[in-house]
Amino acid sequence: MDNKIICRCEDLTEEEIRQEIRQGARTLDELKRLTRTGMGPCQGKTCRPMIMRILAEETGVRLEDMVTPTVRQPLVPITLGDLAHEEN
């Protein structure tokens, strides 16, 4: 029964994350590109700590050595309307 949800935004289970790692994903960035984890509304705030632990278990990489994905703007969802109304 695979219903341990790791990434709530993208509805990803622990088993799905482990499968990707077993098929060769080695970094948080690769997992992000393959599964969209961390790309939903919470931007990885909930899933990141759990995914780091899974990745450490599967690959042996220590948490302190783990490379984290680049944090890009915008940090919060912005409407196109707000951008269009920007002054200056």
Partner: protein, 366 residues
Amino acid sequence: MEKTEILIIGGGPAGLEAAIHAAGLGAEVTLIERDPFLGGQLTKQTHMFFGSYEQFAGVRGVDIAEKLKKEIEENPKIKVLLNAAVAGIYPDGVVTVSQKNKFLKFKPNRIIVATGAYEKMLPFPNNDLPGICGAGGVQTLMNLYGVLPGQEIVMVGAGNIGLIVSYQLLQAGAKIKAILEASPNIGGYLVHAAKIRRMGVPILTSHSVKEAYGKDFVEGVVVHQLDEKWAPVPGTEERMSCDVLCLAVGLSPLSEILWQAGCEMKWIPELGGHVAVRDEDLLTTVSGLYIAGDVAGVEEASAAMVEGKLAGMAAAESLGYSVEGLLEKKDSARSELAELRAGHSGDKIRGGIDRVERLTRGKVTC
């Protein structure tokens, strides 16, 4: 482009104190808060604080928030933006802010990041059933909106948040079936744990959630015992019915802005995750960027407020502002922090901070 001398990101305990103290030195401050109100976690803390007189001992968190808010509203040097979230920080020092129907750009001289922390989640089967929620969420529902999330609660985590929220749930009339704690020891203050034990709530150490069950919402949880290596002990499974499973399993610092700004970050589990390397003024490795509160390392709100004071004074000082006895005031804030982190319960925090603090003027002895 909006101009401000010091931009403070986050209007919780750390940000409020930072604003008051930076403005107290004469600096012009803009305080940005994502919520429609100031106060952060203080607004749901109905319990009285410990510590000293300076740290509002004996005052309820929610009353501390009111007091600080009033000071801020009365200070013409502080501008407050509510419903405003930082959208990004750019290499030229520009900070973009998304506020209801507005997109603002700031070019501050100094930045204090006081964004706080985010609740951790646990992976176990059926962890997405409605009724499973974080302790912060439960506290928001109950203490801010007056909604009791359920009648029969199983709490996970016997740290201070798990213990305090359990007590508040009891006060609100809910039944706590048990508090589960994976480690062999209660993590929170014994005075909180004793209060709950006196009310007949079992605190099961070395116990964890195996899985939750329920059809459309959580109906119960299977708990199991853990051995000294944190492995489940077969045959110890026990079913507990509940309508809320509340997770109080720690917080991680909300450090996205710091990553984006290019701060040197370190993984310090004792402080909740990735935190920025800082000096004794809470200045990060990025020039002009300070940190305070849980984003600098997850601690109690009391420590967050003192860090806010220190970062606020330091940021204003770096702009050339001063008051009489500033050095002593900063030293006294550092002594307050040392006091809050003293003793056995502060071992982890002190160990974590030792690994991430780069002292430029030698260690403060107090």
